[in-house]
């Protein structure tokens, strides 16, 4: 039984040019105690998914369908006040750029105490102790609680955001591109902090990122997202070594290895389709080097190996396609 099970979730944005389905039928399972990476290029809808799960979409966005079963309950169907109860206490969020996410005119201590006292019901003294404990947990000197956000470095601000997220001991933490805005060395440090905390506290994490290397380093499961849909999901080692979907194959060749190494960068040509008027068949067809006639019909996300799902008509030929994908020539424009 997963901690979080997203079933056919749809999120629509009203824009000047029409309705854009940022999330168009997502199926995602996050087991308790796992770090699941959610990877995809910008604009694929992964940030929207994060915000939708937290129940905090901008005014122009709305959940238009599907269920989100969290700790046994469909949170989409809950009332606003019930949803508010879950927020931060059971499900928390680490934003991409902590500079903008922390209140600039309040000291960190005040921001921590606010959450601990107002939502955690702790008394002032106890909340203070817990705040210091949380700072130590993420590797920050508790003395820094008296500072303002702008006095922290980027990496430290991110640690503070993590401390805030863990304040009420949630069972699930959604981290939205937590290391994208940091330089490479600090990235590694923060990812280590996240991994250490996850194993120590036993919580589940969804790590949203566009960087496959981050997924490879920090996650034990991964779901690949494209144009508002999940195209592949499964354990990290399995998906990275034996990808079944051509997009995943392209992604694993498009990034430098975070451990160093000497790979040639091979980008996937083209751009994702419009979310206002998406194609009727497979959404990756226009950029896929292995496209055939069958791809005019949308493929379903099915398990083709134990615990390994993919949405592709040619998944049975995955092994030979992988061999082709390993050659840069396959990805060059025809």
């Amino acid at each position: 039984m997963s901690l979080l099970s997203v079933q056919g979730l749809k999120v629509a944005y009203t824009t000047a040019r029409g309705r854009a389905m940022a999330v168009d039928g997502i199926f995602l399972d996050v087991p308790a105690g796992s770090i699941t990476g959610l990877v995809g290029e910008s604009g694929c809808g992964k940030s929207t998914l994060g915000r939708a799960l937290m129940g905090v979409l901008p005014n122009v966005g709305k959940i238009t369908g599907g269920k989100v079963v969290f700790e046994g309950r469909d949170i989409v169907s809950l009332s606003a006040s019930e949803q508010r109860k879950i927020r931060w206490r059971r499900m928390a969020f680490i934003p991409q750029t902590a500079m903008n996410a922390l209140d600039p005119v309040q000291r960190l201590r005040v921001q921590m105490l606010e959450v601990l006292m107002e939502r955690g019901g702790l008394g002032r003294a106890e909340a203070g102790r817990r705040a210091e404990e949380l700072f130590r947990l993420v590797g920050l000197d508790p003395v820094r609680l008296s500072d303002y956000p702008h006095q922290f470095s980027g990496g430290m601000r991110q640690r503070a955001s993590i401390a805030l997220a863990l304040a009420l001991s949630p069972s699930l933490v959604i981290a939205d591109e937590p290391v994208t805005a940091l330089d490479v060395i600090v990235q590694r440090q923060i990812l280590d902090v996240l991994r250490a905390l996850q194993s120590r506290l036993g919580l589940a994490m969804i790590l949203v990122t566009h960087d496959m290397a981050v997924v490879a380093y920090a996650c034990d499961r991964v779901a690949v997202m494209y144009a508002g849909q999940i195209v592949e999901a499964g354990p990290v080692a399995e998906v990275l070594e034996r990808p079944m979907h051509p997009y995943t194959m392209g992604l694993t060749h498009a990034f430098p290895d975070v451990h160093g190494g000497d790979m040639a960068l091979v980008p996937i040509e083209g751009a994702p389709p419009s979310l206002i008027d998406p194609p009727k068949g497979c959404r990756f067809a226009a950029r896929c080097p292995f496209v055939v006639d069958r791809c005019a019909a949308p493929p379903a996300l099915l398990a083709h190996a134990p615990d390994h799902l993919a949405a592709c008509w040619r998944v049975t030929e995955a092994e030979s396609l992988r061999a082709l994908a390993a050659r840069p020539a396959t990805w060059m424009p025809a």
Partner: protein
């Protein structure tokens, strides 16, 4: 921080000095005998002689300037032609009235404007917003003395609810400022001029607060606050408002300075015995020492409040106060 303060203080004194110098020059624009700036033909011989000596009016223009500056620093501004008292005494009598009028109106205007502006930022769209914004703009567009005239005609002359002018009814002599402040009669007279000014002034804080709130409400930390599940009240009051208030506080300080000069017409409409009205009377009757003194006082307050506004912003925004290098 102390160095920054000292720098600002120096700047303030410099501006004050230049402005007073400009005033000196301004009043010498008058064609004819420069002694007419200080000495009226109606003065007695002793007064004439004393003023001549004190302001160096029989010497060169540079020496006149120095004497004038020296006198100014001691608070000596000459003798009013028509009101028979020293200018400094007249100003001291009138200043409290102006200060009270300005403070009461500005505080009321800002209190209203801040709350209304925050409220409007929350309730976007709809009839309320469509009507409120043009109305706020309209009150700022209307001449303040005309607003005063309307209120005077309707509430004083027609309805008789308020007095038609002055600060006190004939016969009332509270004596000290303290006694004045608790005198019901004084407040009854203050009501209409204050209401006029408040009506005129509230547009700015209202529109400003609304604009900054809208910006702040879109900020990411507000989205975070929602994600934290904080109550709406907590979000608006503790996070949004505090950030949105910074420019409004600065505007308040600036408004305080500007109001002193702008009150001139309202004080005239309501015959409110403040510094503004003194200036108008002095100018209309060629009472030059008084005009000069009143002008200097108003300018000094303006310059000082401008500097204070700068300081206030620096003090309130922790990003500036704790030396953030941009």
């Amino acid at each position: 921080m102390a160095r920054h303060l000292l720098g600002r203080l120096g700047h303030l004194l410099l501006v004050l000095w230049v402005v007073s110098g400009l005033t000196f020059v301004l009043f010498r624009l008058m064609p004819g005998d420069p002694t007419l700036n200080f000495i009226s033909p109606t003065f007695s011989e002793e007064t004439r002689a004393a003023l001549l000596k004190s302001f160096g009016l029989d010497r060169s223009i540079w020496q006149q300037y120095l004497s004038w500056m020296g006198n100014l620093l001691q608070g000596e501004l000459g003798q009013s032609f028509l009101q028979g008292k020293k200018v400094s005494v007249l100003l001291a009598e009138a200043l409290p009235n102006t200060v009270i009028l300005t403070l009461v109106s500005l505080c009321a205007a800002y209190a209203f404007g801040i709350v209304a502006g925050a409220f409007l930022a929350f309730r976007r769209g709809g009839v309320v917003e469509a009507m409120a914004i043009p109305s706020a703009l309209a009150t700022r567009a209307a001449p303040e003395f005309w607003l005063g005239m309307l209120l005077l005609a309707a509430l004083a002359f027609q309805a008789g609810w308020f007095p038609t002018g002055g600060a006190l009814s004939p016969g009332e002599q509270p004596g000290t400022i303290g006694a004045m402040l608790i005198s019901r009669d004084y407040w009854w007279h203050l009501a209409l001029p204050a209401l006029t000014l408040m009506l005129y002034l509230q547009g700015l804080p209202l529109l400003l607060m609304r604009a900054t709130m809208l910006e702040v409400l879109n900020d990411e930390f507000i989205v975070m606050a929602r994600m934290k599940g904080l109550s709406r009240w907590s979000i608006v009051m503790r996070h949004a408002a505090r950030n949105a208030l910074l420019p409004v506080v600065t505007a308040f300080a600036l408004g305080l300075g500007a109001s002193m000069g702008g009150n001139v017409v309202v004080e005239t409409v309501f015959a409110w015995p403040g510094v503004g009205r003194l200036l108008v009377q002095a100018v209309q009757s060629a009472d030059y020492p008084l005009a000069q003194g009143a002008f200097l006082l108003i300018a000094a307050v303006l310059v000082t409040m401008n500097s204070l506004a700068d300081l206030a912003y620096a003090a309130l925004d922790p990003r500036v106060a704790i030396g953030m290098k941009r």
